[in-house]
Amino acid sequence: MGKLWLICIASISILLPFLCNAFSPETPTDRRVLVLLDDFAIMSSHSLYFNALKSRGFDLEFKLADDPKIALQRYGQYLYDALILFCPSVERFGGSIDVAAIVNFVDSGHDLIVAADVNASDLIREVGTECGVDFDEDPSAMVIDHIGYAVSGTEGDHTLIASDDFIKSDVILGGKKIEAPILFRGIGHAVSPANSLVLKVLSASPSAYSANPKSKLSTPPPLTGSAISLVSIVQARNNARLLITGSLSMFSNRFFRSGVQKAGSQIKHEKSGNEQFLTEISKWIFHERGHLKAVNVKHHRVGETDEPALYRINDELEYAVEIYEWSGTSWEPYVANDVQLQFYMMSPYVLKTLSSDKKGLYSTSFKVPDVYGVFQFKVEHQKLGYTSLSLSKQIPVRPYRHNEYERFIPAAYPYYGAAFSMMAGFFIFSFAHLYSK
C-alpha cells in the first residue's frame, strides 16, 4: 500500500499544474480552518454548525476579527487551509489580514466562507466584490418576501424568508434531497454579470425584493426577484472554493433547530433545511466532494507501449487517462460518460468521447488526421460542481519521411514502362544507327 501511495504521489507531482494544487493534492480536504468572529458569543450561538465541522475532523481555530495577532501566513507558508468570516460588522481586520491578503489566500488555492449580514461593513462588501458578488448598497436593506416568507409566531415584516430555490446539483448539495425550505434573514446580493465563475446556490423567490423594512419604499428596489442571490458559490480557476451569503443567522443554532412553514404552504416541517443545506455545502466547499484528479495520462501507437516523441500523419494511436474523485477519505473511480478528448491544433481535429471501464480508466483510440503540425491532447472536463479538469499535452505530428511513401504504386507503372522502353529504344536505335551501314 505504501508503495502505491508513493507512486500516486509521484504521478500527482507530475500532473501538479493540471490539478488543484491547493493543499496537499493527495488529500484535498481542508484540515486547518481559521474562523474570524465579531465576538465570541457566536461560538455558542452557532455551535451546531461548528460542531458539525469539528466532528468531520476539521481543526477550527476561533479568533476575533480585530485580534492584532491573527495572520494567514507565517514565513511564506499558509497556516490555514480555509477561512470562515463570520464577522459581518468588522471594519478592519487585526494583524496582517486585509482584503488583499484574503484574495491572495484564495488565489493560492484556499477556501473561504463569507457570511455578511444587515449592516455589513465595507470591508466585507469589498471581499464580496472581489469574489464576484455585489451586496445591496443600502446598508440596512434586507431581503423581503411578502409571499415566500416563513410563517412564524409573531407576524413580522416578512424579512425571515423561507426559500427552496436550490441549484440543481447533487455534487454541491449532496445526494439527499433537501425537503425543508431554508430560513434566511439578511442582506441580498446579486452575482456580477462579468464574472462567469460565480453561481447562485440558493436564490430568492420571484416575489422577493431588497429594501429597508423600516422605511417606506419610495424608489423601486435595486434588487428584485430571483436575481437576488441568498447564497452564492465560486469555484476559482485554481479550484479554490468560496461561499458567500448575506445572512449570518442562517448558520445559527436557532435557525437550525426551528421548524419552518412556508407561507401559503400547508406542510409544516419540524426542522428547517438549514442544517442539511449548510452541512452539505460545507462538504463541497472543503473539498470533501466533487474533487477530481487525473493521473497516468498515456498515449502511444496502437500495438506499442512507449510514448513517442512525435506522431506521423495517419498513425493509429491510443490515449488513456485515469480519473478519480475524492470522497472525503479516499480516491474513488470517477464514473461519467461525457469525458471528451480533443486532438487540437487551433481547433479540434478529432473530438472523441472517452470510454470508461467504470474503474476510473478512460481510453479511446483514433487515427491521427492527415495534417501535420503541433497538436495537443486536450481533456477539458468542466462539469457543474466538480473541479475543472484541464489536461493538455503537446505532441507534434510530422509528415511522411521520404522513404515512407508507397514505393510501387500501380499508377506509376506506365511511367516505369515508358522510361524503360525509352532506354531500350535508345539503345537499339544507337546500335542500328552506328552499325547499319
Binding site: V106, R237, G373, R398, P399
Partner: protein
C-alpha cells in the same frame, strides 16, 4: 602581348624564363594575391566584433547546418521543425535550398578529415569569403573567355573588392547568396564556354553548375530565364549554330532533371510560369533545327517558304494552345508575386505588402548604386561600348547579362548583388581595353621614333597607330596622362571599397555599435542578451510571439518556439500576429491565447535611437494584418496621413498593443538631457501616452538598453 619593358625582362631573364612563362608566372601570382585579398578584405567583421553569424536569415541557415552536422543528411532532408510557425510547423527539409548547408558541412567534414578541430560555426562564418575568393577565379576565366586574359585579371581584381558583392559575403554573412553568386557566375561561364566550343562536356558542366545554383538560391530563376533569352536573341540575330543547339539542349534537359531533385523546386521546374520561357525556347530550338534540316533537304526556296509559314504557324498555335490549356487547367501555375514585382516594381506595393515591407526589396536609390559600384558605374557603359565593338556570342551574353541584371538591380536593392559580376566583367573589359590601347600606343610610338621604318611585331594594328601618331603630336603625353588618370581612378576605387567594407558592410546587425559622447565606440549587445535570457529563463516549450523579423534569431539563439519567422510562407499567420500587435490589449489577448503564446517580444529603439525598431515597422504590421483582417484599417493609426507617436497621434495608435508594449514604463524615463521624460530618441518626439497600463501582460525582461523588451502573458484571472 608584346615584350616586357627592358629592366623587368632583364630580371626575368636571370630566372631563365621564356616570355610566355614569365607572363604565366605574373598571372598566377596576381591571381593568388587576388584570391587572398578577396578573402581577407571580408574579415573586417571578425576583427571588429567576433566570429559570429550576422543578421536574420543566416541564423536559420546556421541552425539548419548545425542540425545537418548533428543528425545527418536524411534527418535533415526529412526535418519537420515544430519550433517555428507554431502550431503549424514547417517542413524545413522541403522548403529550403540545401546547397549552402551541404557545402558548409562538406567543408567541415573535409577539415575534420584533415584533423583540423574546427567548430561548424567557424566554417559557416568563413564560407562566404571562401566562395568570394573562388568567384574571383571564375571571373578571371570568364573574362578571359569573353575578352582576353588581361580583362580576366582586371575582372578578378574588381570583383574581389566590389562593395556590391562584399555586402552579401563578409565573414559571418552566412547566406545563400554567398555561395550562389559563385554558382551563378560559374554556370554562366561554363555555358558561354559551351556555346563557344560546342562541346557536350562543357554543356554538361554548365548543367551541373546550374544544379548547384538551384540547390543554393532561389535566384536560379534568373539563369533559367536569361539563358533562354540569350538563345532567343542569338536565334533572332541569325547567330544560330550547332554549338548553340548542343549547349542549350544539353544544359536545359540535364539541368532541369537535376533541378527537379531539389525538393523545394521539384515539379515547379516544369509547371510554374517562371520556367515556361526556357521550355518554350527549347521547343523553338527544335523547330529551328527541323527547319534547318528541311531547308537543307529542300532545294526549292519557294517550297521552303511555304513550308516555313505552315510550320511556324503550327508551332506557335500548338505552343499557344498548350500554354493556354496549361494555365486554364491550373497545371501551369501563374507567376509568383515576387516575380511579378520584379517585372512591375509597383506590383508589390499594391498587392503583397509582405514583399514590399522588406527593406532589401525596395527600389534602389541612386546613391546606393554609387555606393556599391563607385567607378564601375562609369566604366560599365564604356565596357558596353567595347563589347558592341567586338560583338561575338560571348560578348552578346555578357551584354545581356549586364543589361538585364542592371534593370533588376534598379527594381530591388538586393539584386545589385546579381548585377555586380556583370558590371565588374564589363568594366574590366573597359579598363583592360583602354589600358592596353594606351600602352600599345606608348610603346609603338617609341618604336616608330627609334626604328623609323620597321613597324615592329604589332602588325597592322600598330601600323595604324603609327599613322595616327603622326597626325597627333601630343598623343604620347596624352596617353601617359590618361594612364595616370586610370590608375588614379582605380586606386580611388580600391580605397572606396575598403572604406565601405570596413564601415558599412561589416556590421553584424545583431550587435549594434554607435559612437559615444566622447567619440568612443559603444556596443549594444541587447539582442543576444534577450535571446540568452529567453534560453535560460523560460520553459523549454514556451512560445514567443514577435514580429516575423526576429523569428529566426529567437529559434536559433533563444531555442524557443516562435509563431512566425523570416520564412514568410504563411501570410495569414503573419497577418494574425500583425493583427494582435495592432489591436487593443483585450482584443489582442484573445488572439494571443488562441495561439498559446507565453511571451511577447518587441524591439524598441526609443532609448538608444535605434531606428529599425518595431514602432517604425508598425505600419507594415497594420498593412499586412489589414490585408487579411479588414477590421484593421491603416487610417485608424494615422493622423491626416501622417504617422506619429506623440500627443497628436491617433487614439487607436496610442492604445494598441504594440504601442503599449514598446512604451510601457517609458513615460517616466529620461533619455536625453534637456528633454522631458518619455522622449523617444528614435523618432525625436515626446511620446503621447505616458501612462501605459497593462492588464493581461506583464513585463518579464527588458535588456540593458531597452532594445528588446519581453512580456509574459498572464494566466486568466483566478476568480473571474
Amino acid at each position: 602581348m608584346a615584350t616586357m619593358p627592358a629592366s623587368a625582362s632583364d630580371l626575368f631573364k636571370s630566372f631563365k624564363l621564356k616570355t610566355k612563362q614569365q607572363e604565366l608566372l605574373i598571372r598566377v601570382s596576381i591571381l593568388c594575391l587576388v584570391y587572398i585579398l578577396a578573402f581577407i578584405t571580408r574579415l573586417f567583421s571578425v576583427l571588429r566584433y567576433e566570429s559570429m553569424i550576422h543578421e536574420f536569415d543566416p541564423y536559420f541557415n546556421y541552425r539548419t547546418t548545425l542540425y545537418l552536422t548533428e543528425n545527418g543528411f536524411y534527418d535533415f532532408w526529412n526535418w519537420f521543425d515544430y519550433e517555428s510557425w507554431y502550431p503549424l510547423g514547417r517542413i524545413v527539409g522541403g522548403t529550403l535550398y540545401p546547397g549552402l548547408m551541404v557545402t558548409a558541412v562538406l567543408i567541415y567534414r573535409i577539415l575534420r578529415f584533415l584533423r583540423f578541430a574546427v567548430h561548424i560555426r567557424e566554417v559557416c562564418v568563413l564560407t562566404a569569403p571562401f566562395f568570394a575568393s573562388n568567384t574571383t577565379l571564375v571571373a578571371y576565366f570568364f573574362g578571359k573567355e569573353i575578352w582576353d586574359s588581361g580583362a580576366g585579371l582586371v575582372a578578378a581584381i574588381l570583383i574581389a573588392i566590389c562593395p556590391g558583392y562584399i555586402s552579401r559575403s563578409v565573414a559571418g554573412s552566412y547566406d545563400n547568396e554567398g555561395v550562389a553568386i559563385f554558382a551563378l557566375l560559374f554556370t554562366f561561364y561554363v555555358f558561354v564556354k559551351a556555346v563557344n566550343t560546342g562541346s557536350l562536356a562543357w554543356s554538361l558542366a554548365s548543367a551541373f553548375g546550374y544544379f548547384y545554383m538551384v540547390s543554393a538560391w532561389g535566384g536560379y530563376v534568373f539563369i533559367i530565364n536569361l539563358i533562354p533569352l540569350y538563345v532567343l536573341v542569338l536565334l533572332i540575330t541569325g547567330r544560330y549554330s550547332m554549338r548553340l543547339y548542343v549547349a542549350y539542349n544539353c544544359m536545359y534537359i540535364l539541368g532541369m532533371l537535376l533541378a527537379m531533385q531539389i525538393r523545394f523546386v521539384g515539379f515547379q521546374h516544369v509547371q510554374s510560369g517562371e520556367h515556361m520561357a526556357a521550355m518554350g525556347v527549347f521547343f523553338l530550338m527544335q523547330v529551328f533545327y527541323f527547319l534547318d534540316w528541311v531547308k537543307h533537304m529542300l532545294s526549292d526556296t519557294k517550297l521552303f517558304q511555304a513550308f516555313l509559314r505552315i510550320t511556324v504557324t503550327c508551332a506557335v498555335a500548338v505552343g499557344g494552345i498548350a500554354l493556354g490549356l496549361g494555365m486554364v487547367s491550373g497545371y501551369i501555375s501563374p507567376w509568383t508575386g515576387r516575380f511579378y514585382s520584379l517585372l512591375d516594381p509597383t506590383y508589390a506595393k499594391d498587392h503583397i505588402p509582405i514583399i514590399a515591407s522588406v527593406s532589401e526589396h525596395q527600389p534602389t536609390a541612386w546613391s546606393s548604386f554609387m555606393f556599391d559600384f563607385h567607378i564601375l558605374l562609369f566604366l560599365f557603359p564604356a565596357g558596353l561600348y567595347f563589347c558592341f565593338k567586338r560583338l561575338s556570342d560571348a560578348t552578346i551574353f555578357i551584354v545581356m547579362y549586364g543589361l538585364t541584371s542592371m534593370y533588376f538591380a534598379g527594381v530591388m536593392v538586393r539584386l545589385i548583388l546579381v548585377a555586380t559580376p556583370a558590371v565588374c566583367l564589363i568594366s574590366a573589359i573597359a579598363v583592360s581595353a583602354t589600358v592596353k590601347n594606351l600602352t600599345v600606343l606608348l610603346r609603338s610610338k617609341n618604336k616608330v621614333v627609334q626604328t623609323g621604318s620597321t613597324k615592329g611585331s604589332g602588325g597592322s594594328k600598330s601600323s595604324s597607330k603609327a599613322l595616327l601618331d603622326q597626325s597627333q603630336p601630343f598623343q604620347k603625353n596624352g596617353a601617359i596622362a590618361l594612364l595616370f588618370g586610370a590608375f588614379y581612378l582605380l586606386s580611388r576605387y580600391a580605397t572606396h571599397c575598403t572604406w565601405v567594407t570596413s564601415e558599412a558592410y561589416s556590421s553584424p546587425s545583431i550587435v549594434l555599435a554607435a559612437r559615444g559622447a566622447h567619440g568612443n565606440r559603444v556596443i549594444f549587445d541587447d539582442y543576444r542578451e534577450a535571446y540568452f535570457w529567453l534560453r535560460q529563463n523560460t520553459p523549454q516549450d514556451a512560445k514567443v510571439m514577435s514580429w516575423w523579423d526576429y523569428g529566426y534569431q529567437i529559434t536559433a539563439m533563444g531555442n524557443r518556439t516562435v509563431i512566425v519567422d523570416n520564412n514568410t510562407w504563411n501570410n495569414t499567420h503573419i497577418a494574425t500576429v500583425g493583427r494582435a500587435m495592432s489591436s487593443y490589449e483585450d482584443e489582442a489577448i484573445e488572439i494571443i491565447r488562441s495561439l498559446d503564446v507565453d511571451y511577447v517580444l518587441v524591439v524598441f529603439g526609443g532609448v538608444t535611437g535605434y531606428s529599425s525598431d518595431d514602432i517604425n515597422k508598425f505600419l507594415w504590421m497594420v498593412r499586412i494584418g489589414g490585408g487579411v483582417f479588414p477590421v484593421i484599417k491603416e487610417p485608424d493609426y494615422l493622423v491626416n496621413g501622417e504617422y506619429r507617436v506623440d500627443k497628436g497621434a491617433a487614439p487607436k495608435m496610442l492604445n494598441c498593443l504594440m504601442y503599449k508594449l514598446c512604451y510601457y514604463r517609458f513615460g517616466e524615463m529620461l533619455t536625453e538631457y534637456g528633454k522631458p521624460p518619455g522622449y523617444d530618441r528614435a523618432r525625436g518626439v515626446e511620446i503621447g501616452n505616458k501612462d501605459v497600463k497593462l492588464e493581461h501582460l506583464e513585463e518579464a525582461f527588458t535588456t540593458s538598453n531597452w532594445i528588446v523588451r519581453i512580456y509574459r502573458v498572464k494566466p486568466p484571472n483566478n476568480r473571474w
